[in-house]
Amino acid sequence: MFKEFKILSHHGKQYVKDLRNQPVSDIFRGRPIIADDITSSEINRICDICPAGAISRKNGAIDLGKCVFCKECEFLLPEKVKFLNDYKTAANRREDLIIKPGNDTPLRLDGNHIRKEIRHLFKGALKLRQVSTGGDNSCEMELNATGNVNFDFGRYGVEFVASPRHADGIVITGPVSSNMAEALNICYLAVPEPKLIILVGTDAINGGMFNGTQAINRKFIDEHHIDLYVPGNPAHPLTFINGVMDLIGICPQTP
């Protein structure tokens, strides 16, 4: 018993007090900013190196839904591209994930675009069923971390549940492998209405490095309305947490 008290005193308080403003390491690769004066030849150089085809040759915008956050464009042109440690990169409209040169406004959800029933029904508690569809398991580990002793998202009633029948929506990770496509659909159909869909990680949002290959089947994603996009490789627990808080309208943040 005394041993456990000692362990507890060393353990101390581990939970993140303010999930909205928890600082992360400066070197964390979050929202990028691209210099206004980037030239077309510089754009071509970073496009050539980008492994994910996330940069537009037309205007040099970086699409966070495609970006694998390798930061190689910043290493190539440190004066023109900079990845900030801003982890609040979730969005509810796919086009908001595209960061244009000169744009340094923080990413926020578009309130007009959130379905009314979501905030009405899920503000007090949101139970989610996660479906893993061909990723590398790192997003799954980060989603598990949202419920651990540090992040403790359960304090706001947001939790992952075992059965889709108990869930208010599904969280998809991975590019949707062909072999998993049917199981994903069955799982979605088992969730009662109204239900939401959240995509976590570059793989889920766009297929990642597997986009366009025969091994994946994106039909489900293309045919359904997506309520929240959480970019990352993998998405940081705080990216997911802040995105979901904005979506269901808890602890509104100051802009």
């Binding site: 492994p51 893993s132 569809t133 540090n150």
Partner: protein, 442 residues
Amino acid sequence: MTRKKISVFSFEHGIDMHVLKSLTPVTPQLHLFEREIHENFEVQFEGHPWLKPVRYPYYRPDRSSIMDNYPFYDIDSEELHEVGVGPVHAGVIEPGYFRFICNGEKVLHLETQFGYQHRGIERLFTDNKSPLQKCILSENIAGDSSVAYSLAHSQLIESLTGIEAGDALQIERCIALELERMAVHIGDTAALCGDVAYQLGQVVCEALRTEIINTTQNWCGNRFGKGLVRPGGSNYPMDITFVGNLLKVLERVGMRFAEITERIYSMPSVLARFEDIGQVTKQQALSIGTVGMAARSCGIPRDIRISHPFQYFNKFEIQSIILETGDVLARGLLRVREVVESIRIIRELVKIWQVYPKEIPRPLYNYKLIPNRFAISVVEGWRGEICHAAVTDADGNIDNYKVIDPSFHNWMALALAVRNQEISDFPVCNKSFNLSYCGNDL
């Protein structure tokens, strides 16, 4: 140190020759490899007990073989029943299908069906991808072993280009690998505690794992070390400030992990759930070719860092930890002791690192591979040996790329571990191995 060789056996296969004699009856360790060759190339292996599908790759020639018609082993009996689990499991984990044949609560047989995570990784390496794209692919094979995987790929590229990593870079890679090992072992200790409802053990270990992966994040900006290991150099060379913090974290985590694991592994209610549960005997493990920590927990000294040392392990001696009982308790205790050993390794390596000149070049992305070469790269990840192999053609392009995850060898060990156990002990057995689905499915 006893260094071992890698022997490569080859067989020239005629275009219209589709039947080979199976080696599985004499070397059961090969049964999955033959199944894989059969699935990918339609080669028949005469004498193989059952050439079942392995992962349903999109390029399989036999299109009639689909996820829904996997040929499970079944028993026609009124007393026995089957329990199917998956592909979507209760937790936030990867998909895979388990079918148990049970007599009451007792498991007689477990068969696993995989392929749900298949996304054609191996083919993408040959698909005219840029060197950077190959690096990104390699670190996205299994996220919990990103460092080990990207190291295996970088070693392979370095071998195929003839470049050699300097000592400081090699040391940094070994440190990253040991940090990854620590993070997963501590996280799995938390999960094992969670499975037997010992909450204090779970939360303390969760917090300690967070400290370790946040240290990796302080190093390279990613909690799993993605981007840290690259061929020929590094984007994130260690600096004195980081090393100072690293040593402090190791001291704190080491002390607290020792304290909590001493408590965990002396509690009768925990021990009752771990001891003699999910046992794999040394004989079984040898016959199915178990690797890594699963092998070391049943008395088999299998550790690539010792038998085929890579990077700075060539010059640095490590203590391999071997336990004998092969049960959940052994796999749990092995993790505890490997964490302690990893802390020692990192501390020693940091001391050596401090005297080396730290001129680490930037990664190499414009290499040309040596034509007509075959290279094998092996790394001891936290689960066990990770193997990458590649063949280049006359123009120096990668003609074939093969990846083997330790889970490919070890899933069979889990199936044997749960035999004659209560089905309710499956979660704790499964967690004690923590095998990879994505590494298996590729």
